[in-house]
Subunit: 357 residues, 2 copies
């Protein structure tokens, strides 16, 4: 028997209900593969603010550190939107990324044949799209200093943030990206704004340096504005994309939306060692929270990513991923991916359908 300690962070909105379903799926898979999960639950985001006044209590970070992997659902909601930024749910997420040194964020955007009509793009444009965005997650303008709102000499206020990357930060995310491309189609596109930004010039230089260590990988470069265009124009040209924190935030969401069903997309945030965090790309959807309407599949696929990347249990991950394809194949749909002639299920029922497979 393999034993794993998993920290669950259900967070806010639909978080708890999709997490419950994912845990049930994990328990079943555990039985099948003789894996024993020890689950422990902790507070983050708005739920943590309400209970403790802080979006990331130190007890939560400690518990995450002392586990083999962290499964996160979603954070945030209107309720906390007017708090000062360091007290908002998002600060909890950024603190978790920084605290666990999760510098590599893997965000797949893959078109599932069963859901291709959910895309707003034409079938022939998106059929077969399978993109992995590797986003740097603990550097860049998200964390660079100086940052803040300062008074100028004239008394006017001035907002400042700093986009910074060091050679070693670029090198380590670059390596993850080249390795990822190697396990996929062997093509890596690095996205920057090197025609304007010095930080991007360093980024490009380091990526080019790394390329000589990965002669089997075809490296290309795109400016971020062109990359945003190309994702809309011809998304099939992309295999693996590597980029900084801010560009990755924007492009991974654009790529995700090409699929038309962000309720289906998982992500993984990984460090050099220690536990990774696995979470859906979608948000906490406060308007449908508690109504048993949420799509639990991105959460379930995040659990599969956890098995694959965090716990080295690829067969268990395969079982879940194939199960998800099967429930879709048999026509089961939650509201967000519903179409004519399919079976509309709630969150819990979708989980049950999967478990019955």
């Amino acid at each position: 028997t393999q034993n794993y300690r998993i920290t669950l962070l259900p967070g806010d909105g639909i978080g708890p209900e999709i997490m419950n379903v994912a845990v049930d799926v994990l328990k079943l898979v555990g039985k099948r593969f003789d894996i024993q999960f020890e689950f422990q639950t902790a507070l983050i985001g708005g739920a943590a603010i309400d209970a403790t006044g802080e979006p990331l209590p130190s007890a939560t970070l400690d518990m995450c550190r002392n586990s083999d992997a962290v499964l996160l659902a979603a954070i945030g909601g209107y309720k906390w939107d007017s708090l000062p930024s360091h007290q908002r749910p998002e600060a909890g997420l950024l603190g978790l990324r920084a605290g666990l040194e999760l510098f590599a964020n893997l965000r797949p955007a893959k078109i599932l044949p069963q859901l291709i009509d959910a895309s707003t793009l034409k079938r022939e444009v998106v059929e077969g799209v399978d993109i992995m965005v590797v986003r740097e997650l603990t550097g860049g303008i998200y964390f660079g200093k100086p940052k803040g709102i300062f008074a100028t000499e004239t008394g006017e206020r001035r907002g400042v943030n700093t986009m910074v990357y060091t050679e070693s930060e670029i090198d380590r995310i670059g390596r993850v990206a080249f390795e990822t491309a190697r396990k996929r189609g062997g093509k890596l596109c690095s996205v920057d704004k090197a025609n304007v930004l010095e930080v991007s010039q360093l980024w490009r230089e380091e990526m080019n340096k790394l390329a000589s260590e990965y002669p089997d990988i075809e490296l290309s470069h795109l400016y971020v504005d062109n990359a945003a265009m190309q994702l809309v124009r011809a998304p099939k040209q992309f295999d693996t994309i590597v980029t900084g924190n801010l560009f990755g935030d924007i492009l991974s969401d654009a790529a995700a939306m090409l699929t038309g069903s962000i309720g289906m997309l998982p992500s993984a945030s990984l460090g050099a060692s220690g536990p990774g965090v696995y979470e859906p790309v979608h948000g906490s959807a406060p308007d449908i929270a508690g109504l048993d309407k949420a799509n639990p599949l991105a959460q379930i696929l995040s659990a599969a990513m956890m098995l694959r990347y965090g716990l080295n249990q690829p067969e268990a991950a395969d079982l879940i991923e194939n199960g998800v394809l099967q429930v879709l194949q048999q026509g089961d749909r939650t509201g967000d991916i519903m179409s004519v002639g399919m079976n509309l299920l709630g969150c819990r029922a979708m989980g049950d359908a999967l478990i019955q497979i």
Copy 2:
């Protein structure tokens, strides 16, 4: 007779050939409306580098300053891509924007019924899309300091750029955006990353302040990642978008690509006073330069924007814009927008078709 002095900046690649066509159209329109254009041509970009060693010779900037409006075609090409950044064609463009204090960049993305099938998005998703992106153009991370590549204490290199906005910079672009929305559908969406960046928090605060002066305009806010998603998911929700320099670069290109025909899209860059710069959104397309294959319509529509925004000649602008719709209606197409059953024309022939209308 109205007299206007127009500086022409043909630049690189297909620039000269599309500029020639646009000038012929302007001459004809001038005769029709008793407008006298005095054209003067200057060097910018790669052409200027080759001739003078600098991407923006001071003679060019002086000539632009002493004119009523500037019509620019396109800059850049592989040839100059390996030069250090301050000697590259792009530096000329950034210098022109800074030198003329062109803080407001207007980028329309409008679906033309005749070209709707060129979009990669489904007809029902893009039919009727008419978005104006108002991008701040002389501030933000494009110009903020410190910027550069510096050595850290450990000897490692560190790339740095700074995203900065002052209250007054936000205020002046905000006013342009609210006024623009007022002339359009009355809806303004401000895009920022206020859940992470302090500079965006100041941006949002100032936009909210301005809203009280424009009670007839409906102001909303989106985070930039969500805006990139929403452009793909449901572009019709947008009327006017206002955002900073970097986010505007990315989102205006994504919005442009929704139309499927960026060879059709003009733009205007305006200051508080003095001449504006009018240019197509597309680039210099070096691979088809000199082959008489380029689509001149974005350049021609940029001339129309010049007449409308720079010279206050709305009827002349209308004439050109209607003429463009008519050539499309009669089936004339350049290669980039060609489809089955249409007449394929070269750059010059497309201009002639328009002139014959």
